[in-house]
Symmetry: C2
Subunit: 456 residues, 2 copies
């Protein structure tokens, strides 16, 4: 190997978090090198080409009010946003019947609606007792961290309809089954995400806006400004700390730096061998981070035909594949795109996807289009294109955000972001507000860059 | 890279499972190549040198009745066993008081004893409804898989003393906190492990015997017979399947074979990039396998002095570090060795080890010896040696056996062992009886070797 490349700060991962950290440090007068395993920047944001310059977003795609750090970054980079399309009626389909509705909450039957309200009230009341930065100090932390969120739901939902609604909302926003995470983790996310309504809402909520050109433009713009400080195709295998600095060894280059920021999910960080060994809590956090499992499915039409029928394109259903659908057309509506999510997870009856849906692309496409046809009529059966993005099959990314296994928030506490000598941690998983969102990726980067700038 | 090495079956991992599979296939007339990432064979069995040829075992070390596959293998290899030392009184220490007792169950107070009995009865009654090979088909599988075992215990234990006892037994045998795994996983292990008494017992149970020279002798003997079919220092990075065969690419060699057996824990298997992509359920199982976290601590004395006082060396306590202690002296008692387990896990009050114990070897040693002194008197304070083996710090092994996160046994069902084209799976994690034990490693290997021999 050639001589190590010298820099003030080495950054591992060219997703939004790593690149934002690099920008902030550069602005503060530090030199940086960003090492990326993949052949592209953007991490869990990426575009899929539809046709004729139209794209749809394969990864994280929404921003909204309260997400100040990412909104300010968009401004700084000169990127434009547009409003997620939600005009008109949405569709609620259950047990073979479709109803149309306005606003956030589908027309559950009155008992289920009351049940949903009491579940929301109780979750938010509990969430208020969970301190944002130190959720493991909540009075009932031990107890809440030892029970799965799904079990809490099973025990406290009185109607299957409300339970299905909460499960769907949870599965879509968290990319995992409510039984895989702890009640405490979920309460901390509710607290840090601005409450359940805000997290689920489009208008006024976390899905209000999209980025023109796709959210991957954030990473691309950041990388353009960083120039050859960004090294692609260079998976990092080793970090070695000593008294004088830190050596970061990747496939293509060795970097010698004063500090390193690891801007990866804890699960992915576990691929890097660290010498001397990481503290036990950090090592185990990495190994017990359960990555979320989600695919995005897209049906593309020559125009957003549902809009002509006064429909928003949003649907909530108990159908086998398309359980949540939203209009994902480009800002000018030049083509129509419907988006749904498919997980390997799913809880309770009706959300365990059969193997053929998970493993056979043709069956998946057919199931998705059949469901869209039930929801939006026969025009939905013949898209001009079908696309999907499966986040369980990436080489360098072990899945969506995910979370800690039950018991491990109280066991490993702040090991997600507590520096280990010269090693600092970024990535949306280490954010305390809007964890799992683009905004969390930015705030975590800024926090890590600040740590590096103020420690010596 | 040079020409690929051709063989009938490539085997990844030179632990007991991989090497046993290699032996069985060789006996059936197949050629094999075993690729091992580490510079030694044995996987999660290994010896630590004490002095003058005396060893103690850093990894899995016990065998017992009902573990037929490993017992037969020991015979076949000409390895001897000896009985775990348990003569004399054991010590039960709680809230500052020590009591001596005989047999398996410590002298809990009568209410706690009754509570322990009802917990055991209920667990074993539930376990009987869990089918060994297909635990996800149990009538209440969904419900049991969505609740943590720790939560079940919290809800059903009536006394803190009985709960502490179950938690300690669970933590020592599973190397994890009861809140990290599901009730269903635990019930399947109880069923497959021959019941709770059998799993916890020394005499007549799973800890009855030890192997002369250490259990790593099993892997060493197997490897001796396999000769240069075993390639060390050769971590596998890629498996590529095509219509004609499978290519296995490791650091030192490429192997071309008809089939491959991956004899690693699901968590470790995730380090290998597979083309074409693994089925989603398999991919996610690997990423959601939560490895167990355990260290073994050893204090070595010039002789097993406790035996002279009529003590077995076994102790159960509520002390900070030494919560379960057992005599681990060599068969001839030429030196005395006391063994305890330390996890990052631990549940409820008193079992969250503080950071300094986890991260500071000097504090850990001091805490361990202080506890041993409480239990066994002042002679315990001055060992001739102190050793430890921390399984969270291995480069190629992500921890002890561990288990699936809640929800994932019903979601991913048999993905642990269902072959994927030419890829077969071994390792104790894929065993249906004695999963997590040495016996499971052997039976899984024999099952995988049989699959390979009978599929074409």
């Amino acid at each position: 190997m050639t001589e190590p490349r010298r820099t003030d700060v080495a950054i591992i991962g060219a997703g939004i978090s790593g690149l934002t950290a690099a920008r902030r440090l550069t602005q503060a007068g530090r030199s940086v090198v960003v090492l990326e395993a993949d052949d592209r920047v953007g991490g869990r944001t990426m575009n899929l080409d539809v046709a004729d310059g139209v794209i749809t977003e394969g990864g994280g795609q929404w921003v909204g009010p309260g997400q100040d750090r990412v909104l300010l970054l968009l401004d700084e980079l000169g990127l434009q946003t547009f409003t997620t399309y939600i005009a008109g009626k949405s569709i609620y389909h259950r047990r073979g019947r479709s109803k149309r509705y306005d606003g956030l909450i589908p027309p559950l039957n009155p008992l289920a609606l009351a049940d949903f309200a009491q579940l929301q009230l109780r979750l938010e009341r509990m969430a208020r007792t969970v301190p944002l930065d130190v959720p493991w100090t909540a009075r009932r932390a031990r107890s809440w961290d030892g029970v799965t969120f799904g079990h809490w739901l099973d025990a406290n939902a009185r109607t299957s309809e409300a339970k299905a609604m909460v499960t769907m909302g949870f599965t879509v926003t968290n990319a995992e089954d409510p039984h895989t995470t702890s009640l405490l983790v979920q309460l901390a996310r509710i607290r840090g995400g601005g409450g359940i309504d805000h997290m689920l809402n489009i208008t006024g909520g976390a899905q209000e806006s999209r980025v023109v050109g796709g959210t991957v433009r954030i990473a691309q713009r950041l990388a353009e400004d960083l120039g050859d400080a960004v090294v692609l195709d260079s998976p990092v295998r080793e970090i070695l700390q000593d008294a004088d600095g830190v050596s970061v060894r990747s496939a293509r280059v060795e970097v010698r730096a004063d500090r390193v920021i690891v801007a990866m999910s804890p699960a992915d960080a576990d691929r890097i061998h660290v010498t001397p060994s990481l503290p036990t809590r950090r090592a185990m956090l990495q190994r017990r981070w359960s990555s979320g499992t989600e695919s995005k499915l897209f049906a593309v039409y020559d125009r957003p035909f549902w809009r002509e029928q006064g429909l928003s394109g949003q649907a909530v259903s108990d159908l086998p594949v398309a359980q949540y659908v939203v209009d994902n057309s480009p800002p000018d509506g030049s083509v129509g795109i419907l988006l749904s999510f498919l997980g390997t997870a799913g809880s309770g009856s009706g959300q365990h996807w059969p193997d053929e849906i998970l493993d056979d692309p043709a069956a998946r496409r057919a199931g998705f289009l059949a469901d869209l046809t039930v929801l939006f009529g026969p025009q939905a059966a013949t898209p001009t294109a079908y696309l999907e993005k499966d986040w369980t099959q990436e080489r360098w990314i072990s899945g969506c955000v995910g979370s800690r296994a039950p018991g491990s928030l109280t066991q490993y506490t702040d090991a997600d972001r507590r520096p280990v000598g010269r090693i600092h941690w970024a990535g949306t998983e280490t954010a305390t507000t809007n964890q799992g969102y683009l905004d969390g990726a930015v705030s975590a980067a800024e926090r890590a860059a600040h740590e590096v700038s103020t420690t010596r």
